[in-house]
Amino acid sequence: MTEAPTLPNSLRTQPDARGHFGAFGGRYVAETLMPLILDLERHYRAAQADPAFKAEFDYLLKNYVGRPSPLWFAERLTNDLGGAKIYLKREDLNHTGAHKINNCIGQILLAKRMGKTKIIAETGAGQHGVATATVAALFGLPCTIFMGAVDVARQQPNVFRMKLLGAEVVAVESGAKTLKDAMNEALRHWVANVEDTFYIIGTVAGPHPYPELVRDFQSVIGEEAKAQILEAEGRLPDMLIAPVGGGSNAIGLFHPFLDDTDVEIVGVEAAGEGLGGKHAASLAGGKPGILHGNKTYLLQDEDGQITEAHSISAGLDYPGIGPEHSWLHDIGRARYEPVTDGEALASFQKLTKLEGIIPALESAHAIAAAERIAPTLGKDKIIIVNCSGRGDKDIFTVAEALGVKL
């Protein structure tokens, strides 16, 4: 690990003009895509300066997505753990059932602004694919979703949802046929269709400006949470906890709090079968490298060949992580803890029974970390956990893991 540099006055001014978060991020794409990436950045800057863009974004988040999402005091979970008070940011209550829609709304407004007439996206578990197909339906744009053939087979309900929404779902047969390969194929399609196609990337990764703009669209999570906790408790929380695959829900919660340095920030990586076995913990088990347009921590071998990730949660099953997380990790502003498949499964059931909330397996990773940490803190402490999505999509996976036949 590199030595932490002196902290600048604000941690919220990244990335720099070239899209770098410290040593991470950047624009590592083929020349064919470079002019398009630059064009996207120009349009994003113009959109940021246009009050009408923000007004339309806010209108859709409120009236279509159903924001603000509640901040729920999980009293029974808190009492059960006997430590810090736990609040859940209920992104699971958004339209389509997860935080993914926030970003899709923002990006399709950008697509419209740029005059693009076709939408593409990659998806792992299918949540981002469903969210993208949803906004494409809302705006009447044709949409193609790239999904690994393995994921297509294990996420049939979401595949059917996307098709109902009018999207074409392309089963990607290359590589390990999961999220990483879906992203490769989406990039290949994009490079051959740059004139009319907008690529809605689902997480805070990819070439600049994607990590920045996805973060900005997701920051509504943290902004709301800040106002809500001030109203409920009259003060900021002591800790934030969120699950991290690519890391868009996490950065959305974290970013508005980055300069509140008394607020501890904890990201939760998927440790799969454990860090000694197959896992998806890029920070704990990877090292910096270049993939999918950005420099960040990656699971890879000594030659820089990317290794396959594993998590019971398809949404965390990716061998990389957003570059801003890599930066926050290296400067020490956030810390990242691993949670295994087994721990996530236990927390999935515990939250369901104690709070009547079925969390996504992604979110269950964050709940598991909260279960570990809350008892070590006093009852006067406050933790906000991002319940990034609902778990209905995961009931088949969970049933199989528990040996239950549906």
Partner: protein, 263 residues
Amino acid sequence: MTRFAAAFAKPRPALVAFITGGDGDTAANLDALVAGGADVIELGMPFTDPMADGPAIQAANLRSLAKGTTTADLFGIAAAFRQRHPDTPLVLMGYANPMTIRGADWFAAECAKAGVDGVICVDIPSEEDPELGPALRAAGIDLIRLATPTTDAARLPDVLNGAGGFLYYVSVAGITGMQQAAQASIEDAVARLKAATDLPVAVGFGVRTPAQAADIAKVADGVVVGSAFIDIIAEHGDAAAPHVEAFTRSLADAIHGAKEIAA
């Protein structure tokens, strides 16, 4: 005179041939390319995630990696090639992560040691040049840049800044081995590029037959062929060399005979 300069100084267009390292009997196939008349060799470094490549080269990457090909193996192939063929320019082509994982200086030094003349890195555009460019140039290795149909006049100077060897014009916005560009668009593009640089301009992507290659050779300094070789290696496996040589000869005859370039 560098090997590139010598290869492009001949009074005829050049055949630039690409194969993936570690896919099939690479040493025999490289010898076949030279014997068949290839003027410049591009040796692909296999990568798990070849985002700019079509199905043929994707499969070649995975075949090579499945056989356990390492970066050290690639440099071994390159060094042995240089021993056997002192004059043929050799380019390593691949993706950023395997090239930079041990540091750009390490990679550049290994290239120099192995007798590699140039490097094409698909996913390091001029904006990210510090990642690899300075180390290569310091080691005397040419960084070969790509220009594409989307590279506009405003960008072209940035693309050319720090470029060496030759300029690789990717004639279609797309991935390797799929569709071919219209001849007229290639002519326009090459004219535009030649007006902006003294580097030789080689044109590739989607070139699969001697006839296509001959058309392009009428307007360019070189023609790049890759996926068509990969298809032959995929079909014939370790016994591909004679087929590679025959196909190389048909391409070289078509390209070399397409026009005479004034010295």
